[in-house]
Amino acid sequence: MILINYLKSTILSKFVMAITGVILVLFVIGHCVGNLQVFLGKDAFNSYAYFLQERLGELLWLIRIGLIAAAVFHIITSVWLKFLNWGAKPTKYQVKNYVKARLTSRTMIWTGIMIFAFLTYHILHFTMGVVHPEDYNKTDYYVTNAVSVDKVNNGTLNDTEGSDECCAEGTATNAKESIINYNGSMYKVEGDEPILSERHDAYAMVISGFQKPLVSILYIIGVILLGFHLNHAIQSSFQTLGYNNPKYFPKIVAGSTILSILIVLCYIAIPISILLGLVGGRV
């Protein structure tokens, strides 16, 4: 109960909205930058996914718990405040004209709830593989202890075909500095023996997910709703946290709009490029 004592004060509640909101905004930006690596190709994207899933270890769960807590408090507080605010204005005007309130600010709870629905779907899809499991259960084989090289001038080429198991076996006894061919890519072996490893094929998952037009459209709508939410939210959090300087605030309001549009464009670039076949044309 002590955890939700702050709800007794509307100003403290707003602080909680703003702070949890800012945490979520930072995540949204970080997540966006990470996702844009899909344009760098399969290897970059999958090693990023591997880094998040396997290398971070406990840290990943710490971040996840932090984000879940932020989302939970954000949602509880927003619903609480919404009911309080409805109660404070029991009789509506017969005729109402808004001067400064905009569509985005008046629909925060509705864009918020739709974002929540979208987020649930997104986690079930790409994080847990519950919906569209066919996207999720993909494996990527890759070579460790080797770095990929684009051009091979004078290395020894192992004339192995790109079939999954053979290559690593075939090159396992090679000396240092040898070049191997795996799946059509060249790798320069450094140090120890090259090993063929498996990892979750996040790249193929994203591609096959977004190649379904309906799924892509759902994601695009979800992200646009997020953009509406953020358009009001980013500048609002400055005001709530007590920063409103007449010289800079108009710039913060403009920045809020620009940043929210930028976030939307970066996110929707991914499903759109995949739908158009610009990325991952052949998976």
Binding site: F15, N85, K89
Partner: protein
């Protein structure tokens, strides 16, 4: 000018109330909005009907008594103007005008367009003052105040407590009013001794009265006849949080 008025009629606090239509013909352009209602009321009295009850006092934009929501905007669409200072030349012949009372749970309707705004008085009683011994005024130069602070404090002190900010806010939040009343003292040396206690007590009373929470719609600023800036709300948010963590006394 001929106008078609729709006015909220409500016999008393218990009555449900409804909009009623009143055509008026003999409106002059240089009448104020309240004078236009006076003309209507005289006509109603002559007809033996109940005149429309509305609040007013100074009729020169300084007392904050006049409280009408005109076409969905408290004090009407004219920027930085109270209802009593709004003139009929701002309307066109043949216009339809909707007149409603200020709406908020904390401002219950007493009759027709009159609402009870004593919630504001109780907020002021909770902390909207400084405690000083009366006597001779002190030598002005013995208390230096930065010009910037003096100006900002005067901006905040322009608030006439009319309640339009609450009426305009979709959440019926009183943040603009309370922040103006808190900041006018927080910016001046005379306000410092009770600064923390004041913001905590006034916000506490504001919440007890059933005003809503701020969602940063900024409708209050748009409706305010004294154009108080929402910047004071940001200042109060800061002041409130600092006082919550540093003031040990329960208020």
């Amino acid at each position: 000018m001929r106008l078609k008025l729709f006015i909220w009629r409500q016999k008393n606090a218990q009555d449900k109330g409804h909009m009623e239509k009143y055509p008026v013909d003999d409106v002059q352009e240089d009448m104020s909005f309240l004078e236009m209602l006076d003309v209507l009321n005289e006509k109603l009295i002559l007809e033996g009907k109940e005149p429309v009850a509305f609040d007013h006092d100074c009729r020169e934009g300084i007392c904050g008594a006049c409280s009408l929501t005109i076409n969905g905007i408290p004090h009407g669409h004219e920027k930085g103007t109270t209802t009593c200072q709004l003139h009929m030349r701002k309307f066109k012949d043949g216009d339809t005008i909707y007149i409603e009372p200020f709406r908020a749970k904390a401002f219950p309707v007493i009759k027709d367009l009159v609402v009870d705004r004593s919630a504001f008085e109780r907020i002021m009683q909770a902390g909207g003052f400084i405690s000083v011994n009366t006597g001779n005024a002190i030598e002005a130069n013995s208390l230096p105040i930065p010009k910037k602070n003096a100006e900002l404090a005067m901006d905040a002190a322009q608030c006439i407590g009319c309640g339009a900010c609450v009426a305009a806010c979709p959440n019926a939040a009183a943040m603009l009013f309370v922040s103006a009343k808190v900041s006018q003292f927080a910016l001046l040396p005379q306000g410092q001794p009770e600064r923390k206690r004041r913001v905590l007590a006034m916000v506490n009373q504001m919440e007890k009265e059933g005003f809503g929470a701020c969602t940063n719609f900024y409708e209050c600023e748009a409706a305010c006849p004294k154009q108080i800036s929402v910047r004071f709300i940001a200042m109060m948010n800061r002041d409130y949080l600092c006082s919550r963590v540093s003031e040990p006394v329960e208020v």
